[in-house]
C-alpha cells in the first residue's frame, strides 16, 4: 500500500478521513438512516398520543374524522406518491449521468411539494372558517362527542409537523437544483441527491400513515 499510489487514485470529492468514495457514500447513507430513526421517534410521540386518546375517546375520534375530506386526503397522498416517483427518477438519471433530466425531476418534485403545501393551506383555512382551531381556541359545535378538540389539536400538530418536513424538503430540492446546475453531481458522486431522496421518501411514508389515522377512521 504505497501512500502516493492511494493519494493519486482519490477523487476530488472524497474527504480526507474516508478510505474511498464507496466508504464515504455508505457512511453518509448510514448517517441518514440513523437520522430517520430519530424522525420515526419524533413523529412517534404524536402517533403515541393519537393512539392513547383514540382508545380513550373512540367515538369522538370517529365522528371528528368524518368531518375531514377523504378525497382531499387521498389527493394529497397521490400527490406525495408522484413526488416520490419523480425523486426516484432524479436519482435514476443522475446515476446515468443525465444532469438535465435530474434537474427536471428535482424541479417537478419541488412543484409536487408546493402543491401539497397549497392543498394543506386550503384545508386548514377551510377548517378554521368552521371555528376548528387547535387547543383552547376550538369553537366548532358540530360534533356531539366530548373532547373533539383533542382530535383536531392532534390533526393540526401531525399535519403541521409533516408540513414543516415537506417545506424543508422543498428547500433541499432547491439546494440540489442549484448544485446540479453548477455541475457538482455526476454518476460518480451524487450522495446529497441519494440521501435527500431517503428523507423525501420518509416524509411520504409518514403521510401514508396519517391518511388512514386522520381521514379514514370513521
Amino acid at each position: 500500500m504505497a501512500q502516493a499510489n492511494v493519494a493519486t487514485e482519490r477523487e476530488a470529492f472524497v474527504q480526507h478521513h474516508f478510505v474511498n468514495a464507496e466508504q464515504q457514500f455508505d457512511t453518509a447513507k448510514l448517517g441518514m438512516w440513523i437520522f430517520l430513526v430519530t424522525e420515526i421517534l419524533f413523529f412517534g410521540g404524536l402517533f403515541c398520543s393519537y393512539v392513547v386518546f383514540r382508545t380513550w375517546y373512540p367515538h369522538t375520534f370517529m365522528e371528528a374524522s368524518s368531518h375531514l375530506d377523504k378525497l382531499l386526503g387521498g389527493a394529497d397522498t397521490v400527490d406525495l406518491i408522484c413526488s416520490s416517483v419523480t425523486m426516484a427518477l432524479a436519482i435514476h438519471y443522475i446515476q446515468k449521468g443525465n444532469e438535465r433530466m435530474t434537474m427536471i425531476m428535482l424541479g417537478i418534485t419541488f412543484l409536487f411539494g408546493a402543491a401539497f403545501i397549497g392543498s394543506h393551506a386550503y384545508e386548514w383555512l377551510d377548517e378554521m372558517s368552521h371555528g376548528i382551531y387547535p387547543g383552547k381556541a376550538y369553537a366548532f359545535k358540530g360534533i356531539s362527542g366530548s373532547h373533539a378538540y383533542v382530535f383536531f389539536s392532534l390533526y393540526y400538530l401531525m399535519t403541521g409537523l409533516h408540513g414543516i418536513h415537506v417545506l424543508i424538503g422543498m428547500g433541499l430540492m432547491a439546494w440540489l437544483m442549484v448544485k446540479t446546475k453548477r455541475g457538482r453531481f455526476s454518476a460518480k458522486y451524487y450522495t446529497p441527491i441519494e440521501i435527500t431522496g431517503l428523507y423525501w421518501h420518509f416524509v411520504d411514508l409518514i403521510w401514508i400513515f396519517l391518511l388512514p389515522l386522520l381521514y379514514l377512521v370513521d
Binding site: E11, A21, L36, I40, V52, A88, L211, P212
Partner: protein, 103 residues
C-alpha cells in the same frame, strides 16, 4: 475497490411501484367511504398503509437492494423503538380506572 456498484433502479420499476401505490391509495379511500364497523376500518386502513410503507421502504428507499444489511437493521430498530414506546404507554393508559389528566 473504489469502483461503484450502486444498483440503478429501472424506470419501469419506479413507475410500476408508483402505480401500485396510487392504486392502493384509491382502494384505501374507497374502503374509507364504505364505513366498515369499528375494528375493521382501522385494520383495513393500517393494513394497506403498512403494505404501501413496505413498498416505499423497499423500492424507493432501496432497502430491497441494499448491500449493507446494517441499514435495514437500523430501520427495523426504529420500528422496534416505536413499538416499545407505544406499547408500554398503552399498558398504562388502557388500564386506568380514571382517565387522567382530566382533559
Amino acid at each position: 475497490m473504489s469502483e461503484q456498484h450502486h444498483h440503478i433502479v429501472p424506470i419501469k420499476m419506479i413507475l410500476t411501484v408508483g402505480a401500485i401505490l396510487v392504486f392502493l391509495t384509491i382502494l384505501t379511500v374507497f374502503i374509507g367511504y364504505l364505513h366498515l364497523p369499528n375494528p375493521y376500518n382501522v385494520i383495513a386502513g393500517i393494513g394497506i398503509a403498512v403494505i404501501k410503507a413496505s413498498l416505499v421502504v423497499m423500492f424507493f428507499m432501496n432497502l430491497y437492494w441494499e448491500r449493507r444489511r446494517f441499514n435495514i437493521m437500523v430501520f427495523l430498530a426504529g420500528i422496534v423503538f416505536l413499538t416499545v414506546f407505544v406499547g408500554i404507554t398503552l399498558l398504562d393508559t388502557l388500564h386506568r380506572a380514571h382517565i387522567t389528566p382530566g382533559f
